[in-house]
């Protein structure tokens, strides 16, 4: 074996060489993932909090379903969205298949259950602590949701990171709904899949290292912010 185990030269040539294309791929990856996780957060955080607090018939069933959906196989999610968005499918009119938006939808669907399930757990725990105080203030369960979400913010950052992890590592679903079109829907993970299939394993590995580094940076930043914040408002 003369190949480097960690192909530093490949990484360097990726970053310094004909970089426009590569930076575009990184930018698209971040854009798709961050948009999907943000939207999933905007929907999932209130939904998870609602599921934690509001009692309604069938609640337990929904909780079990959401927990199950956390392990939803990405390929199945991708296929379902593909069938929905295809020109022959019910949402074909929108012309979203093989676009970044389709990839965002796929990741949104994959990330949402994680955010809902983890948020529900966090908020339920916090509610046991806050219930008396909030009830005494005359705030019912629904009205307490914003308070609980805000006060759980540092735990919820971890929840969002879990979602980000699932989204950024995902390849099966976005390959199906995005089509891995060069310069348009090609992301870090689909590039890695492509380079592997071309047999360019060092390049695939280099891309993987770059992806890992990016994920590391994002996680460190979020962890740092949440640590500093948690210290500021007292240990959680």
């Amino acid at each position: 074996m003369q190949q480097d185990a960690v192909p530093i030269s490949s990484i360097l040539s990726l970053l310094t060489g004909d970089g426009g294309n590569f930076l575009g791929i990184i930018f698209l990856s971040l854009q798709v993932t961050i948009t999907a996780v943000t939207c999933a957060g905007l929907v999932g955080l209130p939904l998870g909090a609602g599921l934690a607090l509001v009692r309604f018939p069938g609640r337990t069933v929904i909780i079990v379903l959401v927990n199950t959906m956390m392990g939803f196989p990405p390929v199945v999610a991708g296929l379902a969205i593909f069938l929905l968005l295809s020109r022959s499918g019910p949402l074909g009119e929108l012309g979203l298949l093989f676009t970044p938006k389709a990839m965002m939808i796929a990741q949104f669907v994959l990330v949402l259950p994680i955010i809902v399930a983890l948020t529900r757990q966090t908020i339920e725990d916090l509610w046991t602590e806050y219930q008396d105080h909030m009830t005494s203030l005359g705030a019912g369960r629904l009205r307490s949701i914003p308070t609980l979400l805000w006060d759980a913010r540092f735990s919820l950052v971890t929840t969002l990171l879990a979602g980000l992890g699932r989204a950024s590592a995902e390849v099966g679903a976005i390959l199906i709904v995005g089509g891995n079109i060069a310069g348009f829907t090609r992301t870090m993970t689909t590039s890695i899949a492509l380079e592997t299939s071309k047999g360019d394993l060092p390049l695939a590995m280099a891309l993987g290292v770059v992806l890992m580094s990016l994920t590391l940076v994002i996680n460190s930043l979020a962890f740092g912010i949440s640590r500093v914040g948690a210290r500021f408002s007292g240990k959680s």
């Binding site: 854009q31 093989f98 970044p100 079109i181 060069a182 592997t196 299939s197 071309k198």
Partner: protein
């Protein structure tokens, strides 16, 4: 203070989404469902910029197996199909999903295998005889098993060799249901034989111990055809721009661009749009 951090983060995400919508407002593009061989070999990277420069039409390529690519087109999710399995293409036309089939080019398949050559077929010119040997010796063979053009070519060769695959297959015959590159990676890892299109093989970087064992048999020729998806079936098909791409591919300019594409000095694809029987 923290609140401000959160608000800033949220705002920047919204800006990002906005930029995305702007970036997506691209003018003219067509979607081409094609095969992994044309993409993995790098042919499209060489061809498309010239076409786009001339016409202003961007081409988005979805690289799939031939079967899957035709299926994508059948659902109306592509404007043009560019694949290599003539019988499947004719069926597609017959079903009314395509307008007209144009032959574009051919390349050829090669049988690749490990240096140890357990079936003893290296250097042969008769692919049917070689397949017989592989089956007789139960030498490991990796099949795409994904209904791709290469897969159907492989199945045709087993048939020509009088091998009844369902009857004789065992440990030695492994269907992996993946693309050409993944299949070559697997063959390399298992020291097995496989059938590959020459383009993907030459461009493939992880050859390891593998090498060409059989090539040059007429039976190994691999014809590519291109078709416009029928706009009468799907009103969303960009008929004019799609036809412009097809016309360019079969024009002298497109044909010579195909002929000019080389890797390591080797020509991968041979234009033959002027051969009506291809």
């Amino acid at each position: 203070m923290l609140r401000r951090t959160f608000v800033t983060a949220a705002a920047s995400v919204l800006v990002a989404i906005g930029m995305l919508s702007a970036a997506e407002a691209q003018d003219r593009f067509i979607t081409v469902a094609s095969t992994t061989s044309t993409q993995d070999s790098g042919l499209f990277d060489a061809l498309l910029p010239a076409f786009t420069a001339k016409t202003g039409i961007t081409v988005k390529v979805i690289a799939q197996g031939t079967g899957q690519a035709l299926d994508t087109a059948r659902r109306g999710d592509a404007d043009v199909v560019f694949v290599h399995a003539k019988s499947q293409e004719l069926k597609f036309l017959e079903d009314g999903f395509g307008v007209k089939r144009y032959p574009v080019m051919y390349n050829d398949f090669v049988v690749v295998g490990p240096k140890s050559d357990p079936a003893g077929i290296a250097g042969g010119k008769d692919v049917v005889a070689a397949f017989k040997m592989i089956a007789d010796k139960k030498a490991p063979f990796v099949s795409r098993g994904d209904k791709s053009g290469t897969n159907s070519a492989e199945l045709k060769l087993w048939k020509a060799a009088d091998i009844d695959l369902p009857a004789v297959r065992g440990e030695w015959y492994r269907e992996i249901g993946q693309g050409m590159g993944a299949t070559l990676n697997t063959a390399n890892a298992m020291a097995a034989y496989t059938l590959s299109d020459r383009g993907t093989w030459i461009a493939f970087a992880n050859k390891g111990d593998l090498g060409i064992v059989v090539e040059g048999d007429k039976k190994l020729f691999n014809q590519y055809g291109v078709m416009l998806v029928n706009p009468a079936k799907f009103s969303t098909v960009k008929a004019d721009d799609g036809q412009a791409f097809i016309d360019w591919l079969v024009s002298p300019e497109g044909q010579s661009a195909i002929a000019a594409y080389r890797i390591d000095g080797q020509q991968l694809f041979f234009p033959n749009a002027n051969d009506p029987k291809a």
